[in-house]
């Protein structure tokens, strides 16, 4: 398994000619074939393209060229990122067979850095879910326990890193879809500041919340991937125009002020082991010289409700285009409206339909003010409360998810219970801030737990510093 080598190590070995990219890719493909049948982390394995790229990188190294900071590093891409000519499904029947005629900005940047996309990974259909059970192509299983979910929606990417297929993967995080599966699978997962990473080529779920981010086995690997993909992009109007400063390699937390968010830690529903992990991480940081205190962010309590109005509303509009006209599935009908309606009924799964319905309702005449409009105001409150907290603290801590990974099927019959597993991650998306999950401790079942490090907008550098310190406490 490549799990033995980090991305930083692999890239260094390939750049120096100590290892061939070809051998790295072959090892990754071997790891995939060994466990993929039981895990189903991938929708598509890009074996031929990956080997061709590996050979090109080896040839470049042989010619004395530098293929880039991610030279020869295999990477898995969530299957909602467009890669020209490759199947891109969003784990939905409605997009089955579609091959985009263009490539997402983040993928372009990976290729330019010498990375080798090796698989498109499974997800909850259109990234709507918290367990990867909402995939039209079947669920992904947690590499730590096949009976349990890997989390979601980027469950395939989290599992691919956790199972040692690849040292790096990309996911997307709309309400916790990177951090929560990272926590469930025992890997590092980062949700960057909104606008830091271009969304061009990321198939939209909720445009004002979606953000692409890294999965890795180490904080350093996550930082390397982050620095490869972030920065301004002219194809995304919401891309922050300033060039980001390098993340840095620091892990010194002395003098940092760290707040533990009461509303996300000390409340009913948070498993005692999860709370204990946060406490242990906090006291470890204290031991390293940080000042740690409890902090209250009252409006966090409304995050889940606001999120489940805003995200479905935007989704209902973003997913209107799947109408059977230009690409993807079509089910015939007597007229165009009937064709649209039948196509969408056949092409979307139950959760996607539920959210489209909820979002359409929240935006419809007579309900906009009470639901969507009100949720946007809650968003203002959350931003205000966080701003106050960040006057007193450099970073905040909380659990990433309320529990360790749950069993397949445990929450599929109860949408609201499923939604609750995002309660700790959602406020960050509403605020547009950065946050990441670092594996720290295990639950009663011996499964990984994640501690969430939250930072203000553009606070990636201090966030990674604290994450490294937490990682070092393990």
């Amino acid at each position: 398994m490549t799990g033995a080598m980090t991305a930083v190590e692999t890239a260094a070995a390939v750049r120096s000619g100590d290892r061939s990219a070809r051998s790295v890719v072959e090892e990754a493909l071997a790891a995939i074939s060994e466990r993929e049948e039981e895990l189903h982390a991938c929708n598509t394995v890009l074996a031929d393209a990956a080997i061709a790229r590996a050979d090109a990188i080896d040839a470049a190294v042989a010619h004395g060229e530098d293929p880039g900071p991610l030279a020869g590093v295999p990477i898995a891409l969530k299957d909602n990122l467009c890669v020209q000519g490759e199947l891109t499904t969003c784990s939905s029947k409605i997009l089955e067979g579609w091959r985009p005629p263009y490539t997402a900005t983040v993928v372009e940047r990976l290729l330019a850095a010498g990375a080798i996309p090796i698989a498109k990974t499974n997800l909850d259909e259109f990234a709507m879910g918290s367990s990867t059970e909402n995939s039209a192509f079947g669920p992904t299983r947690n590499p730590h326990d096949k009976a349990r979910v890997p989390g979601g929606s980027s469950g395939g990417s989290a599992a691919a890193v956790s199972a040692g297929y690849v040292p790096l993967a990309l996911g997307s995080d709309t309400g916790g879809s990177i951090r929560q599966p990272a926590a469930f699978c025992g890997v590092v997962g980062v949700k960057p500041t909104y606008g830091r990473v271009s969304r061009y080529g990321l198939i939209a779920f909720a445009s004002s919340l979606d953000q692409i981010g890294p999965f890795a086995t180490t904080v350093d690997d996550a930082a390397l991937l982050m620095e490869t993909i972030w920065g301004p992009d002219q194809m995304d109007s919401t891309s922050i125009p300033s060039r980001p400063d390098p993340i840095g390699a620091g892990s010194d937390v002395s003098g940092l002020r760290i707040g533990i968010i009461e509303e996300l830690t000390d409340v009913e529903g948070i498993a005692p082991e999860v709370r204990a992990s946060v406490e242990r991480a906090a006291s470890g940081l204290e031991g390293s010289g940080a000042h740690v205190e409890r902090v209250s962010i009252p409006s966090c309590a409304y995050g889940l409700s606001a999120y489940y109005l805003i995200a479905p509303a935007e989704a209902s509009s973003n997913l209107a285009r799947y109408d059977g006209v230009r690409y993807g599935l079509r089910v015939d009908g007597a007229d165009v409206a009937e064709m649209n309606a039948k196509t969408r009924a056949a092409g979307f799964g139950a959760e996607v339909k539920r959210r489209i319905m909820l979002g359409t309702y929240a935006l419809s005449a007579g309900y906009y003010d009470a639901y969507y409009g009100q949720a946007q105001k809650v968003r203002t409150l959350i931003i205000r409360d966080f701003a106050q907290a960040y006057e007193r603290f450099d970073v905040l801590l909380s659990p990433t998810a309320p529990t360790e990974a749950f069993k397949l099927g445990a929450k599929t019959a109860d949408p609201l219970a499923m939604y609750m597993s995002d309660v700790c991650t959602i406020p960050t998306n509403l605020a547009g801030h950065a946050a990441m999950s670092v594996p720290f401790g295990t639950g009663v079942e011996g499964l990984p737990i994640g501690v969430q490090v939250l930072a203000p907008a553009l606070g990636e550098s201090v966030m990674f510093t604290v994450a490294r310190a937490v990682e070092a406490l393990r």
Binding site: P100, P101, G201, I203, T238, E314
Partner: protein
């Protein structure tokens, strides 16, 4: 019978003449091969994102100046959600309650027409209905071309300030002239780059209550706009007279039948679920952008008409013809700059030259006769070198071949005979060989005299080879006949 007051408001969609579409780099070009100007963005492919075209904002700011709009500090885009196959995303990116321009006005024939707003939005694709005679509801199926999808539009919404078809036409005509002057659209109603929808309602003169608003669409010329409104006014008055209820609906103008048809009411009603477009950021025109717009707006049609009327001494209707036809006006102004008198230049431009252009289907830019040539022709007429009929001859040649009027006059020896001595000799000669006619003139009654005099004048012109100055010849003939 009750009389009714007509209330008309107009929504005008204008396609902007940018190089590229509103949110992507695809060419904004009319008449291209189907589906060749499409990309991930304007096809609404999954994962694509819009980026606003700077020129569209600049054009909107020019419009803001030209139509006396307020431009608020910030405006945003909304999504207008509804399903239609010509709309690739099944929502239209438009502006809703925070448009770029608000509260404008223009004066039309001395009346001020309020303009509620102007906003930026994207155009839809083009649908062709196959089978069933090409009519939408009878068609077997439809074909969609997305070249037009994403072309930038400005929608200009008037207040319901117009009271007649005539006034509505005047408003659109003035708007068209302004848009052409500021150069943001080619404003061709026939090609659809300017589309006008009319909201028409009637109310009894005795009441304050507004009538039911009916929207009419599909008028593709100023003339059909006027006809459609008149037909709708007639339809509604007949209904009100017989106490029928007018329903709020959209009606389609049928140019051939000369009537409006109700359209099948769409299913599900119009719940567009507008919400702020999360993929775009607000447009907040800076002081610099506003300043550039103010300084870039050229002289507008109303003040240009006034200037031409007072500087050139031409009439209001000629001024309107010139100013409504930008190319012709530019041509005329160049001819005046080259020394032609404004009034004479205008006469030729709105007369023979416009007639020639219409006949040839040509444009002033393509005229072989350059403005300097027209100035020369006007001068030749003014100094009596040419009579008006000779001048028409010369013009005809100059419109067909690249030659200056003076050259034609010299080569063909066309210069008018103005010398009185020469002309007197000519009169003597012609009268000398027409003594019979003179005798008959003397003996005849008034009618006969007139006839004979006309005959003699004709002989004189013929003998002079049409070059004799008719004014002088007339005078001499009168003297000789002792009349």
């Amino acid at each position: 019978m009750t009389t009714y007051e007509t209330v008309i408001g107009l929504e005008v969609h204008v396609e902007l003449s940018t190089r590229t579409k509103l949110f992507c780099g695809c060419a904004n070009e009319f008449g291209a091969e189907p589906n060749t100007h499409v990309c991930p963005v304007c096809l609404g492919l999954p994962g694509s994102l819009p980026v606003l075209n700077r020129t569209v904002v600049e054009f909107a700011l020019l419009l803001g100046v030209a139509l006396n709009f307020d431009v608020p500090p910030s405006s945003i885009f909304h999504r207008k959600n509804y399903f239609y196959p010509d709309m690739p995303k099944d929502f239209q990116v438009s502006q809703f309650d925070e448009p770029i321009c608000v509260d404008g006005w223009i004066d039309v024939a001395g009346e001020r027409i309020g303009i509620e707003r102007a906003h930026m939005e994207e155009d839809t694709g083009k649908t062709t209905h196959m089978g069933g005679g090409g009519r939408i509801h009878d068609a077997d199926y439809s074909l969609v071309d997305y070249n037009r999808a994403g072309i930038p539009l400005l929608e200009i919404v008037s207040r319901p300030d117009m009271g007649s078809a005539e006034q509505a036409r005047g408003y659109v005509s003035e708007l068209r002239a302004i848009l052409a002057t500021i150069g943001i659209s080619d404003v061709k109603m026939e090609e659809g780059s300017m589309r006008v929808d009319a909201n028409v309602s009637l109310r009894a003169n005795s009441t304050d209550a507004l009538g039911t608003k009916v929207e009419i669409k599909n008028m593709n010329s100023l003339r059909s706009l006027g006809r459609a409104i008149d037909s709708e006014i007639e339809r509604q008055s007949v209904m009100l007279d017989s106490e029928e209820v007018i329903i709020q609906e959209t009606r389609h103008w049928d140019e051939v039948a000369g009537v409006t048809h109700g359209m099948r009411s769409k299913e599900g009603s119009s719940d567009y679920r507008y919400f702020p477009e999360p993929d775009l950021v607000p447009v907040a025109p800076t002081d610099e952008m506003r300043k550039v717009a103010r300084e870039s707006v050229p002289e507008l049609p109303a003040s240009k008409r006034e200037r031409l009327i007072s500087d050139w001494g031409i009439g209001p209707s000629d001024a309107r013809i010139l100013v409504d036809d930008r190319a012709l006006c530019t041509y005329a102004e160049a001819a005046v700059a080259a020394g032609g008198s404004g009034k004479d230049v205008t006469n030729w431009c709105t007369g023979e030259i416009l007639g020639y252009l219409n006949e040839q289907g040509s444009t002033p830019e393509a005229l072989i006769l350059r403005p300097e040539g027209l100035a020369e022709l006007v001068a030749l007429l003014a100094d009596d070198t040419l009579s008006r009929s000779l001048a028409k001859d010369v013009l005809e040649e100059c419109l067909a071949t690249p030659v200056m009027p003076r050259e034609v006059v010299e080569r063909r020896g066309l210069a008018q005979m103005n010398d009185e001595g020469e002309l007197a000799a000519l009169v003597d000669e012609v009268l000398g060989r027409n003594e019979d006619a003179i005798a008959q003139w003397k003996a005849g009654d008034e009618k006969a005299r007139k006839k004979k005099r006309g005959f003699l004048m004709g002989e004189l012109m013929k003998t002079s080879g049409s070059k004799g100055n008719p004014k002088v010849l007339n005078q001499l003939l009168d003297e000789r006949l002792g009349d």
